[in-house]
Subunit: 191 residues, 2 copies
DNA sequence: GTCTATAAAGCGATAGAC
DNA sequence: GTCTATCGCTTTATAGAC
């Protein structure tokens, strides 16, 4: 009887950690998210943090980005690639991002990193995230009747509008800008 | 004959300093722009920098933001408010921002700060910059025939699209996204 | 006006006790 | 697995020589 609970939540706690880390990175950026702030947000000291993430802050950000990428892959990108009902998938995408970004109160971590100092270190996953978003959306648009070229242009416009709406919402401290932009985008995508 | 050149370029050099500082802030963000990087970019040691900007990094960023704001005020916002030819002013705005942002190779410092850790410290000038941009553009759109409400919505969409295009261009490391977005925007604004 | 030296604080990361 | 203590480095900012 050395330990009362032999292996209780070893990787479970770790998984629960990533969303907390994500919010710290979102709120303060990659360089602004100091280990002190991360300790405050998670309640874990540096010892525990380095136990979970031997690679330090960089590994934390990489895993958070991978988790975000995975969420979008299953909840947004994959449905867009499903040939069943492309227009319904596009509507679901709009509804999904509105929820994910908390109607404009949450910022996109991938965009934050793209504009920050650590951009080069995360260039590959950042580019991949947006590339796959655009490709999946373009496929749905093409299936809904657009030409390949028009679908690609409109998908790029959609991804860029979502990012811009999040930037402007934060810059003007007015979250309502985001749902307004999504409504505008909806008529452009489904007209 | 104490000094050969009594007062040669005292404030002139200072004015020439701001664009250099702006590029450092753009490339590395506010927190990423260390005094070491600023020294490297300007060739001035800390002594000189603090001589010009006693308030340190914060004052540097404030003055850079003010200079950018001034440039947009005279070159973009004021022409938009001119009742003479609103459609020509909108076209001039599009051409002006394409040049200013180096066809997508330059990022918007105001947007970078809005997404960064220092957002709260510069909240007022950041909000003001985008608010005046939207107001000036909405006025031109209204004069070109739109209703007040439609002009406001379309102006917000335009400002947000420009920011999003800059984010996506950097994220995907593809500057051409920016001129493409401006072309798309042109038909939305002048259709 | 520009420099070097230095202060004081914060940073990421490591070591080792428990 | 979590903690504290600490290392080594970088940061912003100041002081003072020139």
């Amino acid at each position: 009887m050395k330990t009362p609970r032999p292996t209780t939540k070893p990787t479970t706690d770790r998984a629960a950690l990533l969303p907390l880390l994500g919010e710290v990175f979102r709120a303060h950026g990659y360089e602004g998210a100091s280990l002190a702030l991360i300790t405050e947000a998670t309640g874990l000291g540096k010892g525990s943090l380095y136990h979970f993430f031997p690679g330090g802050k960089k590994q934390m950000a990489q895993e958070v980005l991978a988790e975000i990428d995975g969420w979008f892959e299953t909840n947004i990108f994959a449905p867009l690639r499903d040939p069943a009902d492309p227009r319904a998938a596009i509507e679901a995408m709009l509804a999904g991002v509105e929820t994910y970004f908390r109607s404009g109160n949450r910022v996109c971590l991938v965009g934050v990193i793209a504009l920050g100092h650590a951009r080069d270190e995360f260039a590959a996953p950042v580019n991949d995230y947006f590339a796959r978003w655009q490709d999946a959306l373009a496929e749905a648009l093409r299936r809904s009747g657009l030409s390949v070229a028009a679908a690609r242009r409109r998908a790029e416009d959609a991804v860029l509008s979502i990012q811009g709406a999040l930037v402007l919402a934060r810059a003007r401290d007015d979250a309502k800008i985001f749902p307004r932009a999504l409504a505008e985008l909806k008529v452009r995508l489904l007209a």
